[in-house]
């Protein structure tokens, strides 16, 4: 056994993985029980620490009951080790140190006394007349220990049942006193939590198809008021922002037209029904009235007929005159009774200008 500074403490043994060096043991054997003085010292440390924490929490709770914060806003809690203690804290700390050291030396002394007592007791229990009562006492103690071990599961089960009833109530009571939202906001840095989340992996694990399959689209659509939705859309504003010329210019209309099956479109049109719905009589009447078609036809036919008839009449007149001259020559007569006063070499020309009505003359 060395000096206190050379002995490893329980804390050091618990938190120092370097004690095994770089060799990782396959199985660690059960640790031997620590020496008594270390147990006593650690017990004292725990007791003193708990006492300090309890006193601090108690003081904080008392301060809250008085309606004020234990620390001003923005002020960090006091660091006890930042500055040397004075006055009562100094005395209290020294007393705790003395108690710790006393407990450590007391434990060492107790260990020495126990080991000496063990040696002395071994000498006392070596004779045969002493062994027999000791063995009987050991048997009695073993029977009692076996009974306890036998009842231990039932005791533990009863204790567990009691705790199962007690713990929820304690937790509920504790949660009633705690604002979890504020606690999370104060204690948990959500940004760090989110940074550590592998969202891609989360998304990969999601079965989107299964989620979508569970959605009742019809029910959602029934609850949507499409009319109200459309009325909320600023169509005029959207249309005013659209550059329709650019959109139309970007469309390859030739390709679109090539892909249209005009024959199929024509086959699907019920022309008979379409025509039946049209009031062709009224439409034709309006068109004719608009075009003054009757007047147009009358003018065209009349003009064509007048020109044709005029030509026929003039040609037949010329033929009459020619035959008349031929007749007079054959009969050797002069032109005295020639019905046509016009000379034979003066043919009648067709009209070239507007209509000229012959001057009305009354017969005598």
């Amino acid at each position: 056994m060395g000096t206190p500074s050379e002995r490893p403490t329980v804390d050091e043994g618990a938190v120092s993985p370097e004690r095994f060096g770089k060799v990782v043991p396959l199985r660690v054997a059960a640790q031997p029980p620590p020496p008594l003085e270390q147990l006593v010292e650690q017990s004292f440390r725990i007791a003193i620490g708990m006492t300090a924490l309890a006193s601090e929490v108690l003081a904080e709770a008392v301060a809250r009951t008085l309606g004020r914060e234990p620390y001003a806003e923005g002020e960090a809690p006091r660091d006890e080790t930042a500055r040397p203690a004075t006055g009562v804290p100094l005395v209290a700390g020294a007393a705790i140190g003395v108690a710790l050291e006393g407990a450590r030396w007391g434990a060492r002394a107790a260990t020495t006394v126990v080991r000496s007592a063990e040696l002395f007791l071994s000498l006392l229990t070596s004779p045969g007349f002493v062994q027999e009562p000791l063995r009987q006492a050991g048997d009695r103690l073993g029977a009692l220990d076996g009974r306890w071990r036998e009842q231990r599961p039932r005791d533990e089960e009863a204790a567990a049942s009691f705790l199962r009833l007690l713990v929820p109530q304690i937790v509920d009571a504790a949660l009633d006193q705690i604002d979890l939202n504020e606690l999370v906001a104060e204690r948990i840095e959500l940004d760090r939590v989110v940074d550590r989340l592998d969202l891609d992996r989360v998304i990969d694990r999601l079965d989107i198809n299964a989620i979508v399959a569970r959605i009742d689209i019809d029910r959602i659509l029934e609850r949507i008021d499409v009319r109200a939705l459309v009325e909320r859309v600023p169509v005029d504003e959207i249309v005013s922002r659209l550059d329709l010329d650019a959109i139309v210019a970007s469309v390859d209309l030739d390709q679109v037209v090539r892909r249209v099956d005009v024959q199929a479109v024509a086959d699907r049109i019920d022309l008979q029904a379409l025509v039946r719905r049209l009031d062709l009589t009224a439409i034709a009447g309006e068109v004719i009235e608009e075009l003054e078609l009757v007047k147009l036809i009358q003018d065209a036919v009349g003009s064509m007929t007048n020109e044709t008839v005029g030509g026929i009449r003039v040609q037949s007149m010329n033929a009459d005159r020619a035959i008349s001259r031929l007749r007079e020559r054959l009969l050797g007569r002069g032109g005295a009774d020639d019905p046509a006063a016009t000379p034979p070499n003066a043919p009648i020309e067709p009209a070239a200008d507007g209509p000229v009505e012959p001057e009305p003359r009354e017969r005598p």
Partner: protein, 158 residues
């Protein structure tokens, strides 16, 4: 029918028409009568179809009957035309008019006689090719004259 007349044709108004104009006008009148005969045939067939739709058959008419029908229609057509305005449709196309030697138009009986003579003796028309006054046989018998007249009113006979 009112047709514009050139200056030279204007001077011919009221003069006696020659054989060519009169032959063309009569040809048109003959075609009109033939068309009327065909129309009568189809009209009779239509009436027969309406009366006996199931037992309908095109009526078989002899050439004599058709000729008689055409001859009657020709007389009626010419009579009505000449007694009314002095011109049939053919004479209207050629700008001709049948006038009396002494009156503005033809009375009904003279129109009927002239039409009957034309229907009985159509070849008499060609006498106008020989006559120095362009008169056909019918004109000589009924004392009528055929003149150029493009206007709606009667011209003065020359």
């Amino acid at each position: 029918m009112s047709v514009s007349a050139p200056p030279m044709a204007r001077g011919m108004q009221g003069q006696r028409a020659g054989i060519v104009s009169r032959f063309l006008a009569d040809t048109i009148d003959l075609l009109v009568v033939v068309a009327a005969v065909i129309g009568v045939y189809f009209a009779v067939s239509g009436v027969r179809f309406l009366v006996h739709p199931r037992g309908f058959s095109w009526p078989e008419v002899s050439a004599l009957r058709l000729g008689t029908l055409g001859w009657i229609l020709l007389i009626v057509y010419l009579t009505i035309g000449w007694a009314n305005t002095g011109r049939t449709w053919g004479k209207g196309v050629l700008g001709l008019r049948v006038v009396s030697s002494r009156e503005a138009g033809l009375p009904l009986w003279r129109a009927f006689v002239r039409a009957t003579l034309c229907a009985l003796f159509p070849i008499g028309l060609f006498w106008s090719a020989v006559s120095s006054r362009n008169e056909s046989v019918q004109d000589l018998v009924v004392r009528t004259t055929v003149v150029y007249d493009w206007g709606p009113r009667l011209p003065r006979l020359q």
